[in-house]
């Protein structure tokens, strides 16, 4: 396993060189975080469909348990149980609108991962950086458990567990555990754990920071130990169900799936789950006694348990919904953790927006009114006073204000419009509005995917390293 160890050392060194100005050493965080013998245990796999590009190049990399779809190159990298989902990449001939520029895309966009170590990380969406339209790169980067790199070209950075970078080009940054950043472009920043930051210069700026003592109950990551906390326990407790799914060659859906919906064969479906028309259930999603209304979706690493989603609900990557009832068009952002209890359910009124990385964890019934924006940590009805606002009220504000630990500056209407447009785009892309003729999306295009597996050298100096593999139509 000499080559694999050298590869790991090389990546750590390269990340550290990039983060030297922040005096951040990744070595103590990642040493022994994933045992080397784990890296040789799992096969990697890629999807083939008539609707997606098929263009892969894997060079001098370990890809244990990772999944690839679309167009991707990996070089000198370790990808452990990561999802590299290239089904929304820009295509040659597309016109990319940026401010007043209409920029033609000169060739199919591809994801390029070099000198990076991604652990259980999701890479998805297309890059929004007008400077690099055809290349969505991830270089010299280390990301840890359940991080999301979403449309974000990334260089020289570290992402803590459950961290998300969304539509943001990032250079030499540390994104703390459970932090969410959507800020266009950032460099040389060390973002504290539990920071939720959404900024569009000249339009709006939203910032919330979790109280560290309360966040650590849910997720905590320190050098020398794996990530700990309720979020990790929650996922670990359901790990076995996924093992069965990944070990079985063919698997029949255990619930009825309409012809216009998609249930990924690598999702876990437990009894009493209902799938309506145009529903998308992505791989590594977990549904148990979940009622999925028309056009609802459950993206990668989502858990929906004992809950009812009325329809056109977006449950973004990594979100968890337990003992809850969601009205029509409710959006639940990345990695949110919404937990009601059997005797005190969580109810979210229609068209509400639950901000990415929101934690709602209640021990008494909670009703969130329709059309509200909710963020941060909510454990009781009183918390809504400082952690929510009616969307209608927000659209009317052009004044900067602080509410609890949240700061907002800019045009409220633009903030709400940006979110609503994004939700609309996600629903469209997922095929929620498919009418049998038009508006096809992932729910229709991802129904029949063939999965091929690839494996590394089983022993010797290159044990764990995959041979150079080029896959094309």
């Amino acid at each position: 396993m000499k080559a694999l160890k050298e590869l790991f050392d090389r990546i750590v060194q390269r990340v550290n060189i990039n983060l030297r100005e922040l005096a951040f050493d990744v070595q103590p965080f990642v040493k022994d975080l994933v045992q080397f013998n784990q890296l040789v245990k799992f096969y990697a796999f890629y999807g083939i469909t008539p609707h997606h590009l098929l263009d892969f190049q894997f060079r001098h990399s370990n890809l244990a348990g990772s999944y690839f779809l679309g167009k991707c190159r990996t070089t000198n990298s370790i990808l452990y149980k990561s999802d590299i989902r290239g089904d929304e990449l820009k295509k040659k001939g597309d016109i990319f609108q940026y401010q007043d520029f209409q920029i033609p895309v000169s060739k199919d966009e591809g994801i390029r991962i070099e000198d990076s170590f991604l652990i259980k990380t999701l890479v998805h969406n297309y890059s929004h950086d007008p400077e690099t339209l055809e290349k969505f790169f991830i270089n010299n980067t280390l990301s840890t458990h359940y991080a999301n790199i979403h449309g974000s070209p990334t260089d020289g950075s570290f992402l803590g567990p459950f961290a998300t970078v969304d539509l943001t080009t990032m250079n030499d940054c540390v994104i703390g555990t459970f932090s969410y950043v959507q800020a266009g472009e950032i460099s040389h920043l060390n973002i504290d754990p539990g920071t939720v930051w959404v900024r569009s210069p000249n339009n709006f700026n939203f910032l919330y920071r979790y109280p560290q003592d309360k966040l650590s109950h849910y997720i905590h990551f320190a050098a020398g130990a794996p990530p700990q906390g309720l979020l990790i326990d929650f996922v670990e407790d359901r790990k076995e169900a996924f093992q069965r799914v990944f070990e079985t060659m063919t698997i029949d859906p255990s619930v009825a799936v309409p012809h216009n919906a998609s249930l990924d064969r690598f999702a876990v479906i437990k009894p009493k789950t209902h799938i309506s028309d145009n529903v998308l259930v992505a791989q590594r999603a977990f549904l148990q006694n979940a009622w999925m209304g028309k056009g609802a979706n459950a993206q990668e690493n989502c858990y929906i348990i004992n809950s009812r989603l009325e329809g056109f609900n977006v449950t973004a990557h990594g979100a968890k919904i337990i003992e809850a009832d969601l009205g029509l068009n409710v959006f639940v952002g990345f990695n949110s953790f919404l937990r009601g209890r059997p005797e005190c359910r969580l109810s979210i009124g229609k068209e509400s927006i639950i901000m990415p990385h929101t934690i709602i964890d209640i021990k008494e019934p909670l009703k969130i009114p329709a059309g509200h924006l909710v963020w941060g940590l909510v454990t009781c009805p009183a918390d809504l006073e400082t952690n929510s606002i009616a969307l209608q009220a927000l659209t009317k504000t052009n004044e900067a204000f602080a509410l609890g630990s949240m700061f907002f500056e800019g045009h409220g209407a633009r903030f709400v419009t940006a979110f609503r447009d994004r939700i609309q785009h996600i629903l469209e892309a997922n095929g929620a509005f498919y009418d049998g003729m038009k508006n096809k999306g992932h729910a229709q295009k991802n129904q029949n995917i063939s999965f091929n597996t690839i494996q590394p050298y089983p022993e010797g100096e290159f044990k764990g390293v995959y041979p150079t593999i080029i896959i094309r139509p």
């Binding site: 700026n205 910032l207 900067a400 700061f407």
Partner: protein
Amino acid sequence: MEKYLVRDLMVPLSEYATVHVGATLFDAVLALEKAQEEFDHTRYKHRGILIMDKNNRVIGKLSHLDTLRALEPKPDEVHGIKELGQFGFSAKFVRNLRKQQRRQGEPLKDLCKKAVMLRVEDFMHTTAEDEFIDHAATLDMAIHQLVQDKLLSLMVTRDDNTIGILRLADVFAAVYHAMKECTL
């Protein structure tokens, strides 16, 4: 100018306001008042209090600003306003939040009561290595050190003991007089 040495312009420690570690802010203010009264009234007034350890070595300085800072809400009371700038919030917003917080905070009278309980070492500026100068150094060297490190004073040493303080005001006065002599 060259004829001036640091020791010619310094204020001896015995004429400066000093307190020991453990003293309260109120003790420091009293020491300053006493030193002002006893000091040469034709010279610039003192603008700080030196903090000494138990071996009578200067370990820090408490300026007017440090004293006022002690009256402000503590950093952990400001709910992260300090870092808002790095997240792209406007200076105007941050300023307004501070004002709002100040209005909602404790009135100054109560803060003053609290301040007499506060210890000087918690608010002093700790003297760094580059803030010391030998008593026999020339004024040129002292000016260079003050300007280079943007300092308001230098601690004057002799045989590793601090014997006085060279204030920017006194240096400026010396330069000012030298300039006048040139003109004449």
